[in-house]
Symmetry: C2
Subunit: 415 residues, 2 copies
């Protein structure tokens, strides 16, 4: 549909340009890797156009297909879930080490892996974490510029707008709105301003240098999160090791940091369902003791969630804490996207698993050992976001002087 | 279009089953690799269904896209045309060594590389021949079961049926007819009979054990082709090293052999244009002396053709000689397909470059040196077919006793 419609053609072109120029900020002579579902080939083609116009060395597309993936998950030989094919690992790891830019286009059936053995998924996550370690470590420490964007497919659109004939068109429009695209070519400019706003919010939070944050709402969340010394709130753009600025998520409405790995205590209740590896998990509740998740509950998909938390030792601890006002542009659409890229930018969220090393001053240049010593969760092969924001969420920060500052009140920033 | 139409859905399913069951004859526990353009994902999905039903270990799809390929050929960094990415080479070579089945789905714009620097194409062919040597050697010596089939894309259909609105539908119907599919599920049976017919024709030709063949027609062909001792005419099915029978091309109407590498003399004129690596070459004429191509002429695309012949030393010699009656089912459609898989099965043809090692008795188990000693062209990284059949082609064979046998008269078998 999108190929035939001229107005949307302009938006698609603007979107591709946004991803290449602002998202990964592709430089002349740099290789670009694009992960894309086969249905959205027309979008990958636009990205390739932009990339070669900017002098890309090469554009390598890693295609995928929900249908064939599901068959693989259900019917492929069991031994295949304990390792990544060496050629696939070599490709990812080598390109990451060379500093190739990486655009991941989300757009999958949120329930594509429904009914797949959860143990298989857990084993695969472990194998992936081990075999793509170089790629994943470089990703979380900004070793190369990367950008996660989104392009709807029909199965996903039907989940978001069930029973609506023009669901795909509606979801595309929602995506365009969320990434500030209206087809007039001004999105790159708008994004520069937007990132500045997020960066000034980070400055304010970093100025407080909180010792801890206390989360509370009527869903049952009552959680104290200690912050490591030298923590840094981040948001908007990141800086790759090459010195190039990039924007890792589009949309992004969050400012984020990493908690003190061993300093999380209390109860944390999710406020939205989580689309995780082709499964939907609802009614999530975690209990924490000294940072470790000691109880895992979900009303639906509890087995899958427990498997995710059990991936490795590090996945039992939080790695990210992110603030998004309840009155955010994406939240205000009232749409539940069943896609973390959107849902996490409509809500305060946490992630269990690996922390982003830039959450500690100088962290991108620290070893895993140094990061652990600095107090953040730096040895997990997973990073799974889940949403906790609500209309009545309050967050009270305590500074090192013992001063209490209301950071969030009724779901929105109070600072 | 093909996804929506129920009648065609049945044909597509039958076609997928034919490729998996008869084409590569997939065995339980065997991996299947499928190369497919992204447009024809619906066909790859059907193939995956059939493969997993037969107990495939895994189905690995290698997707490609004409648009992004063309951009790569035109704009990617020049250094990339001298080597295959190591991970791509590793994937092909490893799967080939493991005996994975391989289905290549043709279906590309015949002029996709129009205007691309011919030297770039030649360098890439050389690099590919070197870096995929294990894969290519195992392919020509039946080290694994492989099958080349075809699924139309719009750009190709528009070349075959220019200006016709329903070109894609027409080309699909022509393809179905050529591979004996009408949607009633009987294609696998028909193929078994068809292969038997070709095999009995081979027996007859092998009985004559010709010393040489003399080709002549009004297009200017006047060529003597000596045959190696112990040559074998082949057609229909092949036997993979695992002992499993497979059919390497669908359609296939040919019986083929390899000539004595140094025993080809005279002039050979092509009777059809050749779609070669995204370029169309017309009016081909070669002169041979002691097997070597000494003159290369084309009315259109001569530079590309000369580059192809210059790929390596072996590409200056013939590697295949194939007989197809002028009154063959594909030829009788009157369609010029601009796709070797079809056009070579509508016409007697030759190939320059690598011979199939099974053309010599026991050849699949011989080294390159042994094959050369046996008299066939066994050291080229290319194999390029071109069509020479015409309505007035005559081929006269001479046996070792000096007896002359008319093999072809007026374009058709006379034996």
């Amino acid at each position: 549909m999108m190929k035939e419609d001229n107005m949307n053609e302009e938006k698609i072109s603007e979107y591709a340009r946004l991803a290449v120029e602002v998202g990964v900020n592709l430089q002349k002579g740099q290789t670009l890797m694009v992960c894309c579902p086969v249905e959205n080939a027309f979008f990958a083609r636009k990205i390739a156009d932009c990339a070669y116009e900017r002098g890309a060395k090469d554009v390598i597309v890693d295609w995928r297909d929900d249908y064939i993936s599901r068959k693989h998950w259900l019917y492929a030989d069991d031994s295949l879930f304990d390792r990544v094919y060496p050629w696939d690992a070599d490709k990812r790891n080598t390109l990451a080490k060379e500093g190739a830019a990486y655009i991941f286009i989300c757009g999958d059936d949120p329930e594509n892996l429904k009914g797949v053995n959860g143990e298989r998924i857990r084993r695969w996550e472990t194998a992936r974490g081990r075999d793509l370690k170089e790629f994943l470590d470089l990703e979380t420490s900004n070793g190369f510029p990367w950008c996660v964007i989104s392009a709807p497919v029909k199965s996903w659109a039907d989940k978001v707008f069930p029973g609506e004939e023009n669901s795909l068109e509606k979801l595309w429009e929602a995506v365009f709105a969320a990434v500030r695209i209206n087809g007039d070519g001004t999105a790159p400019e708008k994004w520069k301003e937007h990132c500045k706003r997020l960066e000034s919010l980070c400055e304010k939070l970093n100025g407080y240098n909180f010792k801890s944050l206390h989360y509370k709402n009527s869903l049952g969340t009552d959680l104290t999160v200690e912050m490591p010394e030298n923590h840094l709130w981040l948001g908007g753009g990141d800086t790759a090791r090459s010195g190039v600025r990039f924007v890792a998520n589009m949309p992004t409405e969050e400012v984020f940091c990493a908690p003190l790995k061993t300093g999380v205590n209390g109860t944390l209740c999710a406020s939205m369902p989580l689309a995780y590896n082709g499964n939907i998990i609802e009614g999530i509740r975690f209990t924490f003791k000294d940072g470790r998740i000691t109880e895992v509950h979900a009303d639906k998909g509890e087995g899958i969630l427990k498997g995710a938390v059990d991936t490795d030792e590090g996945s039992h601890y939080l790695g990210e804490i992110a603030l998004v006002p309840y009155d955010s542009p994406i939240s205000n659409t009232g749409i539940l996207f069943y896609e973390t890229l959107f849902d996490e930018n409509a809500s305060c969220h946490f992630a269990f698993g690996q922390a982003y090393s830039a959450s500690i001053k100088g962290g991108d240049y620290m070893s895993a050992e140094e990061l652990l010593k600095a107090g953040i969760n730096a040895e997990s092969c997973t990073h799974t976001d889940f949403m906790v924001g609500s209309a009545d969420l309050s967050i009270v920060g305590t500074t090192h002087d013992g001063e209490e500052i209301t950071v969030f009140e009724n779901g929105n920033f109070a600072i």
